[in-house]
Symmetry: C2
Subunit: 202 residues, 2 copies
Amino acid sequence: LRVADIGNTNVKLWEDGKISRVRIEEFRPSGKAFYISVNRKFVEIEDWVNLEEFVKVNTIYKGLGVDRKVAILGESNRIVVDMGSAITVDIVKDGLHIGGYILLGKKSIVEKFRENIPHLQFGKEKFGDEVPQNTEDALYFGYLHPIVSLLQKLQKEFQLPILVTGGDYEDLKKFFPEAQFSPNLIFEKIFKLLPELSRIEE
Amino acid sequence: LRVADIGNTNVKLWEDGKISRVRIEEFRPSGKAFYISVNRKFVEIEDWVNLEEFVKVNTIYKGLGVDRKVAILGESNRIVVDMGSAITVDIVKDGLHIGGYILLGKKSIVEKFRENIPHLQFGKEKFGDEVPQNTEDALYFGYLHPIVSLLQKLQKEFQLPILVTGGDYEDLKKFFPEAQFSPNLIFEKIFKLLPELSRIEE
């Protein structure tokens, strides 16, 4: 069984339990696989099965990406956060997806700062609520504290538990110790579609 | 009188009351001027007077950029926000600068998203507290709501009034109607150094 999650900068591949990541420029689909794709260059792939039509969510949001649809599959009351190359935040309240946010992910922020200001050093993973007192921390917490503040505000407003996925999920761990962290959420949710998948395979 | 504020992406020039902006790649210093610079390529400029040594602030932050020092000049109790090509947030409490944040500015965020996802449309200036329900708004408020949430949190924590400058200052106006907005804050603050300047000119 092979499953692919095709994004705009990376492709994540699940192959018999092993997960690998390929940069989109180097991605060459081969063999057979099930996949979801938000990348307009990979809408239809020969011999591959696009799962988008099986992903049904109840939303008032127009144009929700299939990756975000998959992330909220089966959730009734949740704030789902994907800390990937883009950060997405999606709110499901009483079974209805009421909207969400798209932010640049950490890697993109670091790349863009480096482009403008080559000598800047971006701080390493750390935890703290204090106002940063040097440039490394000002950059790292300049990425992290705004998204943390937004999530705290949304959590308070909607009274919902948080579910986090995506490569940088650990950055949120100490700020939301009570949240659920599922680094491979997209694949886990895709496997919930397995009954549908097996019907196709027949 | 000519004054220049040299950043990493732009130079802002004040020339006898007229303000102009030059992209850093096109910036060729000529004549005479007073200036501040955070750009390592423009530390010393022939015939120009670097004002950095006259900018004295009381801070526990290591490596504070001269533009941020100028922005907080004379402030004793303030959150100073520069909505420029980078967004900086600086907190002065009881006469002491206790730290701050550096975030990507709106233009950089838009540019980076376009690089990764060419078809994305970034929403236009608008106001709202609601969770976005389409991708344009998810991107625009994905830039704006996190910084707004951070500022609301800081304002609550430190009980300080907000002062906003920088090209995108208007994005914060409806969220902080009681804040002070000074698009040309850097030049206004530099002019407060005028007594020092005139002594040099002699």
